[in-house]
Amino acid sequence: MTESPLTLPEAFSPPSTPLLELRQVSCERDERQLFTRLNLSAYPGDVIQIVGPNGSGKTTLLRALAGINKDYTGEVLWQGHPVSSVAWEYAHDLLYLGHLPGIKKALSPLENLRWYAAVSGAESRSTIYAALEQVGLYGYEETPCYQLSAGQLRRVALARLYLGRARLWILDEPFTAIDKRGAAELETLFARHAEQGGVILLTSHQDLALASLKHLNLLDYQPGCPEGRPQDREGGQGDD
């Protein structure tokens, strides 16, 4: 069971080392196995949608990969090295957007993003304005966030995708509260990021229309599941 369930099509020969690799990752929570022996190789340009019913461990997996939750067994490799040994490089190349947007309501979008820019590696002020314009918050830069709608708050958080140069994006339900047009713009952004050699891991209950999209179904790694099954999946739509 050493082979990755997400092998790429033969036509495209992948670089020798995947950007992010998971080997036999298992996670237990409150004495319940969420998933076991999860294998995954993400090469530059991959957009991987993690699917599974509620409570199947999608968020737990993403939090584990972001390094917030260290309660898992198995190996996570970044460019071939265990993440613990390249923690600084990994943190620099990682952008994690969780369920909670991490937006302070008493601050304006500009102030919120300025802090994020500093925490994740400095960016100039003009880029923050540009990022806010990209997510459709032009004119709201100085408005306190408690005056914004839920969707607009989410957009403030999403503006971080336009800042920084992280190669690995870990996004937990990025489409929550985002309108149709916003979702389409996000997809375009994802496609561009993948094209530039980035990797995106995301959870969403929405169907995405990205060319480079792959699926990872956590149900395949539930403890009761026969071990051989993940072998059959060649990432792609229409599974199950």
Partner: protein
């Protein structure tokens, strides 16, 4: 196709510094915008001390005897009152996660947050203390030492309290536990602080107590943010 450059090749110290400033600025802004929360411990401090002459005795002699200890105890309680919120809002809105996964050391993020906590509680408490000293008829020799010991002591208490706040941040009702964790660690600060003021009033030299308080603070600056950072990682690990 745009080239993706490898970030992080620039020096780390400059960005660590800018992260420290950004957190300091952000938390100060938040404190100013949520003024009501900030003023809470100060009002408690003021009201508690105001009640003492009414409840105990308005006699100058009695008050002067208990003034150093009382002001110190009330300052300690006021600090304790404000600790619970130190990491709570960051935990609840997800910014704590971002601090944890930041490439910048968590030590400095915590230090910045504690510094703001001290600036909005410990420092105003210290500045208010002479006024409360007057209300409690503190003898004139006690004012200088009161300010100096409170300045050092409240800073230590903010730092030590951060460890407790970090440990209990994930608990829904961590208030009581926080007090239980932090109280014993506050005891030495209280003893040295209050006795320094007491001795100063009696006219003896208090260099040694001030030195001990300074040593406490130095130790707390080095160790407390480390412990708090570790505790934050444990708290959000689930």
């Amino acid at each position: 196709m745009t080239e993706v450059t490898v970030p992080g090749s620039a020096g780390g110290s400059a960005t660590t510094f800018s992260m420290f400033w950004a957190t300091l600025r952000r938390d100060l802004l938040l404190a100013i915008r949520n003024r009501a929360e900030m003023v809470n411990p100060l009002v408690f401090f003021l009201i508690a001390i105001t009640m003492i002459p009414l409840g105990v005795s308005p006699e100058t002699k009695t008050l002067a005897a208990i003034a150093p200890g009382l002001i110190w105890v009330m300052a300690l309680l006021a600090t304790l009152l404000s600790l619970d919120g130190l990491f709570r809002s960051d935990f609840e809105d997800g910014s704590l996660e971002q601090m944890l996964i930041s490439p910048q050391p968590l030590y400095f993020t915590v230090l910045a947050k504690v510094m703001v906590h001290w600036l909005v509680t410990g420092l105003p408490l210290t500045l208010m203390s002479p006024l409360l000293g007057v209300m409690l008829a503190l003898p004139s020799g006690g004012y200088g030492p009161l300010c100096i010991t409170l300045l050092l002591g409240t800073a230590s208490m903010s730092l030590i309290g951060a460890v407790g706040a970090a440990l209990t941040v994930a608990l829904r009702k961590g208030g009581l536990l926080l007090s239980l964790i932090v109280m014993p660690l506050y005891v030495p600060v209280l003893i040295f602080g209050a006795s320094a003021v007491h001795n100063a009033v009696l006219g003896s030299v208090i260099n040694s107590q001030i030195a001990v308080l300074g040593a406490f603070l130095a130790l707390a600056i080095v160790l407390a943010p480390l412990a708090a950072a570790g505790a934050l990682r444990v708290s959000s690990d689930g």
